[in-house]
Symmetry: C3
Subunit: 142 residues, 3 copies
């Protein structure tokens, strides 16, 4: 059995890191999820999904680390062609990824104690993002 829902998330722009754990959990509860897999997929090329301990220091450190990997002001061919200032955002999205599969046990996301699922905005302006949330469960009496 597979159920598909959409989660809309509004971001404030670059380096906004939004904890979506509870919203995903709410969708699973609405679907009556018990045991299965939650597949999360972000429909974007300038933001990403990852897992992090949602702690203030790390929320500052993570964008700084990404600045080392794909600096905002490095020379990018995409920027020369389009001038929209977000080539680094594309790089970061392709590095981190937009797809994630999380176990569901006893109706809840089976996350570790410190794990939060986050949407990290890399684009340079506020965006409205769509995360597709799918729940796969056993087909029988569950």
């Amino acid at each position: 059995m597979i159920r598909t829902e959409k989660l809309e998330v509004r971001t404030k722009g670059e380096n906004d890191i939004i904890n979506i754990t509870q919203k995903v959990d709410s969708i699973l509860q609405k679907l009556g999820a018990k045991e299965g897999i939650a597949n999360l997929f972000l429909q974007s090329t300038t933001s990403a999904l990852t897992i992090i301990e949602y702690e203030e220091g790390l929320l500052t450190d993570f964008p700084r680390t990404l600045e080392r990997l794909a600096p905002k002001n490095a020379p990018y061919e995409h920027e020369k062609a389009w001038g929209d200032g977000n080539a680094h955002s594309h790089m970061r999205s392709s590095l981190i990824g937009v797809s994630m599969t999380v176990p569901v046990i006893d109706g809840r996301l089976a996350l570790g104690q410190w794990q939060s699922i986050v949407l990290t905005e890399f684009d340079v302006r506020p965006r409205k993002r769509t995360v597709i949330v799918q729940f796969v469960s056993s087909s029988s009496t569950e």
Copy 2:
């Protein structure tokens, strides 16, 4: 219900970035996919799967970004032992990853407007790659 297919992809060597979106979509249509999840898995340690906007500038920028992360000419123990010139290719593959799960809705990959699924070749010579494509759907009347 789970169906498993294989997609063979020939690459031209280092930094060849191949858009496999339409080929995966064709497999899903052949399988009669409606709603479910497409699991993609690349059987390789020197190439990777990711999602990117398939735009000429970004296709140049992405390899340059990876050169910053795992430079071709950095000293690598793997290179000292084997001398096959692709230690950086291994690093890049392990960083980006080879596994991805994409929602399928109404028989199509539920990608965002600008998202393309790509196989990025990091190895230093042309290779023949295998992507395993699995489709998981509800078991009933579908």
Copy 3:
């Protein structure tokens, strides 16, 4: 049909890279897996799952590459606040990721010839880690 198991892994601390392929394969055999998908999820924010050729040189090269991406001694806000010396471990975990889906064919993980699934410990001390292993298969006579 979905089955969920847990795999406990003890690590020796920073940069211990543990090949868990055979243990995952054993779980799948215990479950009588034939064709389906293995979903692996590591309940951690300071270690990660990835795929690599399990070769001595690469096992040295990979931590060195991560040191370039998120240096141990860079200034981190997390470190200023908590002083537990593992801010870089958090960064590396969020970059590499903790979730992976691997095809199962004929009862075995459908890995490429050189692919091994590894748990890479980034934390600065030995840890006991939990990997959730789920197997999704067709529901009928399989």
